[in-house]
């Protein structure tokens, strides 16, 4: 069977599991069966996607959906690459959930929607007409909404679900209108008609803006990111991992599919809004994450940052392509796709780790944890590994993709437009700033959560998580290491996608000596993750052995020293808030209007001192709160219409009729 058939078959298979789960969810062992089946199907789909990466595009039409349109499927390199990303993430989440899902109090609220969510995401990748695409997009949104609402009685979750629903509908509306604009130029809702058509500059510009809102809101671009840090953490942890690691990638796929392929040849100025929004998203997202004390919300904000990086590289790729600089476009696009793959890997591990902590302690607030490395040795090591990778530290995969992004910026002075010449260095600074802030963010997250002394009894009595969960984390960590040590393999695997979208591919990396990656041959810039890893590991091991052999090998365990004050309790440790206080004071006081108020009682008073901190998200302050107030105001005014007499209603109907007739009369 063809890869397309196999991937298309995965969708009804997932839906069948969803139906099965709806009837059996309350039975014992239902979770294992559902997640086990999802694991098998997702693994097969990932393998099929991998096989289809370098194959020629295949299409399929099914007589479903709208009668005059049918349902069009198409599998090309781009779909296949994202199918690999989605289904590896789905397989890992399913494996994790075999263990983690056992602790679910109400499995009937999770099990039926989980496979439906996977089906929706897989269907988006295969859709080849606007109707199927939007149907799949909505299936994905609604299934994930149901999963967000799984624990609807927990504080804040209902609000998160409400805001998510509004934003998701709004995003789909924007996409619908975007497709409408494209279809009006193409004369049809099929993607091949849109590909063949050349929209006018106006149509293309409007479609770009609408897609940026529609796909961007699902991906979490500033300022339409506000739902993401609320909704992603509210879902069960394996679903959080899917939403953050995988669903945002489906949104990236939608953006690439439409903007790089359907809208037609790019203009250079398209890249301006994408670069600006991408840069701001990266910096703002990670600054938020640094201020956050809820572990899962911290990870969600970090997702926003990574999405910013991906969109930034996509903006660069568009700028290069508009200027017919195919090599630069290939480099930037490879960096973006590589980072999308990487982010799926490490963000899933981080959410899995968060889920393990949540299950072991019942606590998401890092201020109440600490010292978990002693009681959760394996999951803490996996979390540390993923944190190192996401912090873009060599030799792991996060560094490899960010290094490519930096190299793409390094080629961009050749861009001829002044707007880009002035913007790209600023965007490069934001990228560098974000990269540094990520490292700080994850030192803080890991340090407060796992290191130090336990701050509460629940942290002191935590236990390691189950084997399935650990297995899922370890598998993804191994993939992180492989992608970091052998980035050339990933770059070469992505080359068919890049060739199709950018018109060129990066130089073949498998041919270079020692598996070094060389993005631009004449610049002599190169990076070899394998050798760096080998050197660092070798030096660390030999130095540890040499230090013991040449010097003293005696080690004594003693009470901590702490400059001679060892008796202070665990609460004398730095908290997460105090650890990030310098950064809050220096950066967040401007960007996020962070304020702190110290309430110090006068000497002699026995009341406790207080410190109040507040941070504001500019997107809420400037956009969504005013919109909410305007809607409430308008609703208040229109409320009067609910209490009119029948005469007035009839009068209104009459007036409307007159107005419509006049419009018709004047119009013809």
């Amino acid at each position: 069977m063809s890869a397309l058939g196999l991937l298309a078959l995965a969708v009804p298979a997932f839906l069948a599991i969803a139906v099965f789960a709806a009837f059996t969810a309350r039975q014992a062992g239902a979770g294992t069966r559902v997640y086990g089946a999802c694991l098998v199907i997702a693994t097969l789909a990932a393998i099929a996607g991998l096989g289809a990466l370098s194959a020629a595009p295949t299409t399929m039409v099914l007589p479903l959906g709208l009668p005059w349109l049918g349902t069009h499927f198409r599998l090309d390199a781009l779909s296949a690459a994202f199918a690999v990303i989605v289904d590896i993430g789905a397989a890992a989440a399913s494996l994790y959930a075999i263990g983690y899902g056992r602790h679910e109090a109400e499995p009937q609220r999770v099990l039926p929607f989980y496979p439906a969510f996977l089906a929706g995401m897989n269907l988006v990748l295969l859709a080849d007409d606007a109707y199927t695409f939007l149907f799949a997009w909505e299936l994905m949104s609604l299934a994930s909404w149901a999963l967000v609402m799984a624990h609807h009685t927990e504080r804040g979750n209902a609000r998160a679900g409400y805001i998510y629903l509004i934003m998701a509908s709004f995003g789909t509306l924007a996409l619908l209108m975007g497709f409408g604009v494209l279809a009006s130029g193409a004369g049809g809702y099929g993607f091949d008609a849109m590909r063949a058509a050349h929209p006018t500059a106006w149509q293309a510009g409007i479609a770009l803006a609408l897609v940026l809102i529609g796909a961007g809101s699902k991906a979490g671009l500033v300022p339409v990111h506000v739902w993401l840090p609320l909704a992603h953490p509210a879902a069960p942890s394996h679903v959080s991992a899917l939403m953050s690691g995988v669903m945002t990638k489906v949104a990236v796929y939608g953006f690439i599919r439409i903007v790089f392929e359907l809208v037609g040849p790019p203009e250079w100025w398209w890249s301006l809004p994408i670069l600006i929004i991408g840069g701001i998203t990266a910096a703002l997202g990670i600054l938020h994450a640094l201020m956050e004390r809820d572990l899962k919300r911290l990870l969600a904000y970090s997702t926003i940052e990574n999405i910013g990086i991906i969109f930034l590289t996509l903006g660069l790729a568009l700028a290069f392509r508009a200027n017919a600089m195919a090599a630069g476009a290939a480099l930037a696009l490879t960096a973006g796709l590589f980072h999308a793959f990487n982010h799926m890997l490490f963000k899933s591990v981080l959410f899995f780790g968060a889920g393990a902590v949540l299950h072991a302690t019942g606590e998401r607030d890092i201020e109440k944890l600490g010292g978990l490395i002693h009681r959760m040795p394996i999951s803490s090591a996996a979390f540390l590994f993923a944190a190192t990778a996401i912090s873009a530290l060599p030799p792991l995969n996060g560094f490899a993709s960010e290094w490519l992004a930096f190299q793409a910026i390094f080629v961009s002075p050749a861009l001829p437009q002044w707007g880009l010449k002035l913007l790209v260095p600023a965007v490069g600074t934001l990228l560098a700033l974000a990269a540094a802030l990520v490292a700080a963010c994850f030192v803080r997250a890991f340090g407060i959560l796992y290191l130090g002394r336990p701050r509460t009894p629940v942290a002191a009595s935590a236990h390691e998580t189950d084997r399935f969960s650990l297995g899922a984390m370890i598998v993804l960590c191994v993939l992180c290491a492989a992608a970091g040590l052998l980035p050339g393999v990933v770059i070469d695997a992505l080359s068919p996608v890049v060739q199709a979208l950018a018109g060129a591919r990066m130089p073949a990396q498998s041919a270079t000596a020692w598996l070094t990656i060389v993005p631009v041959p004449d610049a002599h810039s190169s990076y070899n993750g394998l050798l760096i890893a080998a050197f660092v590991a070798f030096v660390a091991l030999t130095s540890a052995l040499a230090a013991r052999a040449l010097g003293s090998s005696a080690t004594r365990r003693a009470r901590l020293w702490d400059c001679g004050y060892p008796g202070l309790g665990p609460l004398s440790q730095y908290s997460a808030a105090s650890l990030s206080q310098p950064i809050r004071r220096v950066m967040a006081s401007v960007v996020l209007r962070s304020r702190e108020r110290v309430d110090m009682p006068p000497p002699g008073m026995l009341t406790a001192a207080r410190i109040d901190k507040a941070i504001h998200d500019p997107a809420w302050d400037w956009i969504f709160t005013p919109i909410g107030l305007a809607v409430a105001f308008a609703a208040g005014k229109f409320n009067h219409f609910q209490f009119l007499t029948i005469r007035r209603y009839l009068g209104l109907v009459f007036l409307l009729l007159v107005a419509l007739l006049m419009y018709l009369g004047l119009g013809t």
Binding site: G371, I373, P425, L433, I532, V539
Partner: protein
């Protein structure tokens, strides 16, 4: 091939063996400037030997990370230092990592150091980590922007290629390079915990940063961290020397004589860097912690402006 490997090995050995000497020179010159006798120049070696011979004391709240961190810090710093050309460019492994990778390797060392500061669960360690994080969030992007500036002039982010290009003196005097040099000096001062950002000789909790993070370390672990700190100082001295003062550096494929000259000039450059650093440190006061972001912000701005100038001047 064997010869190439030996030359690479010599480079790795040189940086490791010379690093404590540079620290010793700086201390000695500083002491003499203050009209003190000062410890012998070789004192850092003696300190390392003494620390190695002592038993290591590990707090009972420490995890495996506390014990592993010194070796990771040392390894990452040493590999980074070995990637910077000292006496010759174009060594066999010089293409392993570029300037961005060197900055990121130092980031890896800082990551491990910051976590180690939090591991035992004392307020001092976390205080150091907290401040270090704030400094690094400005120093690291500044370093990347410096890398951009230099790379745009030289046409590569590969340090060996940059040094080769600088050796030809095609770059001439450029405003961007001057900005990059100034920014790099600021970053170097901050990264090496020197005055005016941090004071390597203090143990006063109001001011210390680096020393606070390593407060719980002793014995061979402390020796590793001290050696890594010396290596980092040497790395920045070599980095500034190979980009902005490549004179004497043996180019790619040069013979033994040129390499010998390169080595002797390298020693001279290191000595010069040590004296300049000591002079600078004795003539300036330490800043308040919350002044440091302004200081580092200057470096970031200079790096940004240097890059921007080069972007803009491409079309002129």
């Amino acid at each position: 091939m064997i010869g190439d490997l030996i030359l690479q090995g010599v480079q790795m050995a040189i940086v490791l063996l010379l690093a404590p000497l540079l620290t010793g020179v700086v201390r000695k010159v500083k002491a003499r400037l203050l009209r003190r006798q000062g410890p012998p120049v070789l004192q850092p070696y003696l300190d390392l030997r003494r620390l190695m011979a002592k038993e290591a004391i590990v707090a009972d709240t420490a995890s495996w990370l506390f014990v592993a961190a010194p070796y990771v810090i040392f390894a990452a710093t040493w590999v980074a230092a070995a990637l910077v050309p000292t006496y010759a460019t174009g060594l066999v492994f010089s293409w392993t990592g570029d300037l961005i990778a060197i900055a990121a390797l130092l980031g890896l060392a800082r990551f491990a150091q910051g976590l180690a500061g939090l591991d035992v669960g004392t307020s001092f360690g976390a205080l150091g980590t907290s401040r270090e994080l704030m400094f690094s969030t400005l120093a690291e992007p500044a370093m990347i922007m410096i890398a951009f500036t230099v790379a745009l002039v030289a046409g590569s982010t590969q340090l060996s290629s940059i040094a080769d290009f600088m050796l030809t003196y095609q770059a001439g005097l450029r405003v961007s390079l001057a900005m990059a040099l100034l920014a790099l000096v600021i970053v170097a001062l901050a990264e090496n915990a020197r005055i005016p950002v941090d004071n390597p000789a203090t143990h006063l909790e109001l001011t210390m940063v680096h020393e606070a993070m390593v407060l719980e370390y002793s014995g061979r672990h402390l020796a590793m961290i001290d050696l890594a700190a010396s290596l980092k100082l040497l790395l920045y001295a070599s980095l500034i020397a190979c980009i902005f003062a490549p004179i004497g550096l043996a180019g790619t494929g040069a013979g033994m004589g040129a390499m010998l000259i390169g080595f002797i000039t390298y020693l001279g450059k290191l000595f010069g860097a040590g004296v300049l650093l000591a002079l600078f440190e004795t003539s300036i006061a330490k800043m308040r912690v919350f002044r440091v972001p302004n200081f580092l912000g200057i470096a970031l701005m200079l790096g940004f402006l240097g890059t921007l100038l080069l972007f803009v001047s491409r079309s002129l």
